[in-house]
């Protein structure tokens, strides 16, 4: 039993370990180790294409995570009052949104947006004074943000709602009893109580968007996110520079996940008092 367990873990983590090790390779070929060096990290960070892709990824992740967090939190709060069959339907839709494969979300978002744009663009052009200079809606950062935001919103709802459900209802009543208006209660009791979940939701949404390749690949248009850059570089062969980028993304993602998890856990302790 133990042997199999170890084998499974080795199988899972050896490739990742290899990437991390080879990112410190002094040589320029990915397949042979030639001493220790951090030069590839320097090269990666001074590569203007990498930096531009990083900026695109960070912008998309920050904006989509923010939108997803706001919409997701509001949805989680609103869902408190929903019970019975409608609740079951909402719950099912939420979990489906999380479990649908990225490729399906990617394709369907692409088709939906392209259809919408094809329908809207002639109308905009028709109302624009000079038809030639009319703005054209197309794939880009906006569509990336929309696709990622929709996907990660379901995630935020699930995380925040667990927290809202675990919250002691009598705290809300106690606040009202002590003279706080409904808005005052929300600001002084509900928000501090669910804040850890909101923050954790934001961080998870950010990582999912930042790391996502499949959905981005379909809807990015001419934009290049970091995962898309890595994918296209690999076609020219795996260089230690790519390993360095991969290792950095992995480290940052893991760090954010650990932070999100510890926030959630500390929040749970504070909730039970």
């Amino acid at each position: 039993m133990r042997f199999y367990a170890i084998a499974v873990y080795l199988f899972l983590y050896i490739p990742i370990g290899v990437i991390a090790v080879f990112s410190f390779n002094a040589g320029r070929y990915a397949a042979q180790l030639q001493g220790f060096s951090t030069q590839w990290y320097g090269k990666a960070l001074s590569n203007p294409f990498v930096m531009e892709a990083l900026q695109t990824s960070a912008t998309v992740a920050a904006v989509s995570a923010t939108l997803a967090t706001i919409a997701g939190t509001l949805a989680a709060l609103a869902l408190q009052g929903v019970t019975g069959k409608p609740r079951m339907i909402f719950d099912a839709l939420l979990y489906i949104a999380v479990m649908v494969p990225g490729i399906v979300i990617g394709i369907s978002t692409l088709i939906a947006l392209v259809t919408l744009f094809d329908w809207l663009n002639p109308m905009i052009a028709a109302f624009w004074p000079v038809a030639e200079s009319a703005p054209k809606l197309q794939m880009g950062k906006g569509s990336l943000i929309a696709a990622h935001g929709m996907f990660t919103m379901a995630l935020v709802v699930i995380i925040v709602r667990a927290r809202v459900a675990g919250m002691d209802r009598s705290l809300i009543e106690a606040s009202a009893d002590l003279g706080a208006t409904p808005l005052g209660t929300f600001r002084q009791v509900t928000l501090p109580q669910i804040f850890p979940a909101i923050l954790a939701g934001f961080l998870l949404a950010f990582t999912f968007s930042f790391d996502d390749f499949i959905i981005a690949f379909f809807v990015a248009g001419s934009e290049t996110t970091l995962p898309i850059y890595v994918f296209s570089s690999i076609r020219r062969g795996v260089t230690p520079e790519i390993n360095a980028i991969g290792t950095m993304v992995l480290t940052v993602s893991l760090l954010i996940l650990v932070v999100a998890q510890s926030i959630l856990q500390r929040g749970r302790r504070a909730q039970t008092g």
Binding site: D168, E173, A174, A176, D177, G179, A180, G184, Q188, G273
Partner: protein
Amino acid sequence: MGAESLTGADKSSIAELRGATKRFGAVVAARDINLSINRGEFLSFLGPSGCGKTTALRMLAGFEAPTEGDIYLDGQRVNDIPAHQRPVNMVFQHYALFPHLTVAENISYGLRQRRPKPPAAEIEAAVNRALETVRLPGFGPRRIWEMSGGQQQRVALARAIINEPKLLLLDEPMAALDKKLRHDMQIELQTLQRKLGITFILVTHDQEEALSMSDRICIMRDGGIVQIGSPRDLYDRPKNRYVADFVGKSNFFEGRVTSVAGDTADLQGAAGISFIGHAGAGIAVGQRAIASLRPEQISLSRGDGGVPVTVVNRIFLGEHTEYLVQNPDLGQFLILASRQAEAGEGNLEPGETGSVSWRDGAALILNND
């Protein structure tokens, strides 16, 4: 009262429920509750879970609106006034302290909701006074989870009294405390109530708690009030078997009423054993009823002058000893013998036989409902 109830609430009462009924779908949680609460009194709602006592309290707090009837606070109809605008504060069953705030921040919460907000120095002084009142001086900067159950309860109390509410509502505040602590808290609550002069309304299923603290007790069943009275009234003059059973321990013997003279009735029980005592409301000759006898009103002796019994079990309670005895006709019942009464006779061991007797007039003849 007639003319007054048309114009407004009775001036001597701080709060009033008039025909208050609360339905949740098909369930009637509170049924036509009429109750006038006196200024400065300590009133308890007593009953088993689901009897409507908490619903009555929540209607006063403003967490539930009555489906029918009216709620008055200090002469004003408050049916449509939400909880946060009512001059009423509550101590919640599990305290509902805000875990993200310190003890001092919890206590000052009510003051900080006022507009305009009182100056910081004033709030601090009030918090310190409240901490003194509940005997927790210097605990202000602590976190809630650093406090023990008993301390948390005091914080909840301090938080509720800082606003000087017209009514202080207590929803089973002692349920989470152990027995010793509960007793101390009961005494403290009573002292506090006298000191502050605030009207206290307590919800409890613990009859001892209600009996020891209240000026008046409101016994509830199935959403309605069964009887309202002082603890002594309820103990000595219960309206029916339910009240007699709920307030203190009692033995019940079924039988038929053979005579009623004035307020005294005679009930013939099993094997012609007679019970004479105060007749409850609506007791008439010929009807089936029950005789209620408190365990301390029955005396047990070794001789054979009374009803013969066999001792089934004996529990030593310190100053008293509780006997469970058996008679072939009356079945099993309880006797509470004081140490003093036992001194001459010596203890009866389980299995030994003796006889029991009670004075004429000791029983209560009640309707069996």
